[in-house]
Amino acid sequence: MKKLAYTALVLLGIGSQASAFAANDTIRFGVDATYPPFEYKLPDGSVAGFEVDLGNAICEKMQKTCVWVPTNFDGLIPSLRVGKIDAIFSSLGISEKRKKVIDFSDRTWSGFSSMLSLTSKNLQPTAKSLKGKTVGVQQGTMQEDFAKIKLARHGVRVQSYQDQDQVYADLLNGRIDASLQDMTQAEVNFIRDGKHADFTNHKLVDKLLPSDSAIAIRKGDTEMATIINDGIKAIHADNTYLTIQRKYFGKLDLYNK
């Protein structure tokens, strides 16, 4: 009876997700897979999306193995600094605040930020128009920083959520009047795929909302920087980038804005 219990325990321990040891030719990418079509989770639990495909293409060109580590968005940068992951490829905008603590690779794609709200509400992405209303953002994004600095101080209620899905859920059921996120993501995932035509996507331009996104690496990790930048150049050189972009966005051009 005891022996059975012990063997069962050992088998459980083996069968469970055991911690892995790092190999030198793997790149561990941290990703918050709740941002379709850039990164999302398939029903079987694996990650997929535009940036996942790009990352896999980079790894293929540089002959390394890609491992995708799903993490909460606001845990990405702490995980990177601690060494849990080697790079972040999760729609991370190149903001000044982030540049202070991590390094960025070459630009991967560009896109503006936007505010989503019901067309019938007639809201503009300004503090004056949103005064007294509630705006939802994902925790850790530069849209959250923008909202806290530019909007919250002028009488707008800012609510932070753990992931973008929760922001959209509360946007749909009316808990928040507007939400701030990446414009392309809102357009493709919420309005087009979600079929919410009664929402408007207002473009939002500001110093605090840079339009360029890139892959993030630890400060001073020049080896990884070289590998990734070479990979980016390689996928542009033979049009792999264009093929992947066409698969997700059709005619939209995210690189040459």
Partner: protein, 255 residues
Amino acid sequence: MFELLETYWKPFLYFDGYSYSGVAVTLWLLIFSVIVGFALSIPLAVARNSKYKLISWSVGLFTTVFRGTPLYLQLLICYSGIYSLTFVQDQPFLNSFFRNGMSCTLLAFTLNTCAYMCEMFAGALKNVNAGEIEAAKAFGMSRFKTYRYIIFPAALKQSIPQYSNEVIILLHSTTIAFTATVPDILKIARDANSATYMTFQSFGIAAILYLMLSFILFYLFRRFERYYTAHLPRPPVTKSRLSTYFSFLNKKRTQ
């Protein structure tokens, strides 16, 4: 570390710029749920011990469901689940109630703690000395009087340790409130972490705050228990080996 404290001491304690936050919100969640849960649990506990099986089993069903499922799941149901139902959104009162994150959280916490307190108190009610109840009947006390003067005081005295346990467990459970966008201590810690990337320090401050709150509550309950049982003989105090070494530090105690 000190810049973190300097920027965030106010949000951690009570105000983060446009709403109450931090310790103030956590204490509000705790105090409201404990008081309302306690008030609701008394009649429910009496019903739980009722001789009519239907009443007793209905309350039993309530406590089984709320004690058998995680509090986090109950919070999710109150916050995301109920609000997604169309008939809730159509009714103006329900709509405005469930729209507010704080009211959803308070509802979930209150129901949960009410279920636990009901079971505890029902057990204590059962264990009241049968002889005292018979004596009350012999004196001609009505049922209400018996409850008020004999049964409730005895049951309450017996369940103070369990209540103090439950309150501290509830304090620890308020940490999930941030998932319903309620700005409690942990939410401020996450905000601080998100802004400064100093993970260990932000969560460490939160841990210390919860530690202090737990100890204050524990101490308050001990004082209350001593006050409530002042008329009873004190149980013999067993000193641990550790305290005998530090006994010189103790002030004079009236035993």
